[in-house]
Amino acid sequence: MSSPSDLVLSAEGLQQSFAVARSVAGRTKGWLRVLRGVSLELARGEIFGLAGESGSGKSTLGRILAGIDRPLGGRLLLGGRDVFGDRLENSLLFKRTVQMVFQDPSSSLNPRRTTGQTLEVPLQVLRLARGQRSARVAELLDLVELDPRYALQYPSTLSGGQKQRVALARALALNPQVLILDEPTSALDVSVQAKIIKLLLRLRSQLGLSYVLISHDLSLMRNVADRTSVMYLGRIVEAGPTPRIFQGPQHPYTQMLLAAVPTLTPDEEALKPAKVQPVGEIPSPSRIPSGCSFHPRCPFAMPVCSDQAPPAVPKGEGQFAECHLGVPAGRA
């Protein structure tokens, strides 16, 4: 697919679980198995989309990719080095390569610090002199299309879109190559979302960035991601080039998600798989169904589905789906 030199970040078999402490004594009552073997490769300059219902483990995966949390199993590879194995996740090298932008810009900016003060934090790490720092703050604000006077303003005086721009500028301050974007626009109005996404696209080509874009908005994904992966209960159940995922979704879960997308025109309506109606809800990761974890909600479930986990079946052109149906019933 992509030559090794094109890879900026890759993950192999990532696992993550959280202990459920229910009793008063705090004893562990069980485990939430949130990631169950997730592998992915992020190529230079690519937008890697990650979709799925809430609770499917997208943010957990994002935090591991950004070096925030250690996984319980699997590896994260950066330039041939095992990030967690070599304890690089808190190194300046890693922070200068991978940065994260959070979902809610109101909580990711300190209310008691001005934009300038917030942007100065990463610059202090670079040991820039004072004058250089102010210049760089202005440069960063310019990069995200904010007037330099915003350096003196507190977050409470900024709109949601402006806050997200500041958060983006902070993430760019260390000149990273990869941004992990966890639902960067889901707290914003659609007119503001459009502007932020256009900005992200411009920055990608201008600075040669790669993105992992986490979003549950499939229409957005369709328009910006180069490749799309669909997560369900801690596994990537289908992945491939975006047009293929949307035009020929192979996994019933992908079809269900697509069927639920609210659309604006009859043309778009016609693109939705008609045979799969959204039913049920994602189960808790503490009780993962046996076999194929999607089988309780799957309209095409067969006996084998509750017994055996399906293998990843290649569908050509880099698309694969983890489903027992060799060729699931397609679209209407």
Partner: protein
């Protein structure tokens, strides 16, 4: 048009604050016919919730309001809505924060009964009959196994079930009009599709009217007959859903629609520049003009709602131009 169930006319709401008076709602009028599904859309802070709160008598402390409200043809005196704190008969609100709107320490049955005891038509009902009624509303929201649900605590139920219970709570009031105000953060598409399906089912089976407040244009299109578009405290456009989405007449509506990414991958527009104007400033012109690409000298005068066709209203001096521009765009 069918008989009007609810008619709100010229609602003005203002707040006195340290920096002056903020005049938020500037004459909002809307109308819901019996059994009709109506949506109100618009970006954050445009006054959607305040409109609904006024109808429900729940305006915040310190709000001053003016306007007329008619329910089933009867004029409601100002003391019975706005800030009355008493619910209007026949109108019920569906809360959409399934996590926070239910009390975790009481069973669902206890909470339904507690609400029933506040309602005149259920207060005197003997226990077995009340129980029968509770099971009835649970089955109306398509929750099978009502007995078990009544005995469950909220944490034992999934998010979708909790949302259904909140709808059941509203149905206990035997409303003619259901008001659903969507929370700021988006629900999962699958859950959203499910709840929208349920609301639709209720409208048809229980002869309810629905007033749906949402950010999401797709949701508005999917579930409603008529749509009001609000901007900065006024209704700027009103039309049947299909009409509105096939040919928006207000530049704001058009801009919003261009901002929405399409499922067919045809991209999306640049969004809308700028932010909502401050409600503190008295503005005699069109409130959208600072962000409008059609702006000219006529916009210094506030446009009235005009009717380009029966059943359709728009508050813009340039709606013909907007329509022509959209048609041109279509052809290109």
């Amino acid at each position: 048009m069918a008989e009007a169930l609810l008619e709100l006319e010229g609602l003005r709401v203002e707040f006195r604050g340290p920096r002056g008076i903020s005049r938020v709602l500037d004459g909002v009028s809307l109308r819901v016919a019996a059994g009709e599904r109506v949506a109100v859309v618009g970006e954050t802070g445009c006054g959607k919730s305040l409109t609904v709160l006024a109808i429900l008598g729940l305006l915040p402390q310190g709000a001053r309001f003016r306007g007329r409200l008619r329910l089933l043809g009867r004029e409601v005196p100002a003391a019975e809505w706005g800030r009355s704190k008493r619910p209007l008969p026949g109108v019920a609100m569906v809360f959409q924060q399934p996590m926070s709107s239910l009390n975790p320490v009481f069973t669902v049955g206890d909470q339904l009964r507690a609400v029933a005891r506040t309602l005149p038509h259920l207060r005197a009902l003997p226990a077995p009959r009340l129980r029968a009624r509770l099971l009835e509303v649970l089955s109306a929201v398509q929750l099978a196994d009502g007995d078990r649900i009544l005995r469950s605590y909220p944490f034992q139920l999934s998010g979708g079930m909790r949302q259904r219970i909140l709808i059941a709570l509203a149905l206990l009031k035997e409303p003619k009009l259901l008001i659903a105000d969507e929370p700021g953060t988006a629900l999962d598409v699958t859950l959203q599709a499910e709840i929208l399906g349920l609301l639709d089912h209720l409208v048809r089976t229980q002869q309810l009217a629905l007033l749906h407040i949402t950010h999401n244009l797709g949701v508005a299109r999917a579930t409603t007959d008529r749509v009001y578009v609000m901007y900065a405290g006024s209704v700027v456009e009103e039309a049947a859903a299909e009409q509105l989405f096939s040919s928006p007449l207000h530049p704001y509506t058009a801009g919003l629609m261009r901002s929405v990414p399409r499922l067919d991958g045809s991209g999306f527009g640049e969004g809308i520049d700028g932010t909502l104007p401050s409600y503190l400033e008295v503005d005699l012109g069109c409130r959208f003009r600072q962000r409008c690409t059609f702006r000219d000298s006529r916009c210094e005068e506030k446009p009235e709602l005009s009717s380009p066709s029966p059943e359709r209203r728009v508050a813009c001096h340039h709606w013909e131009l907007v329509r022509a521009a959209a048609a041109l765009e279509e052809r290109v």
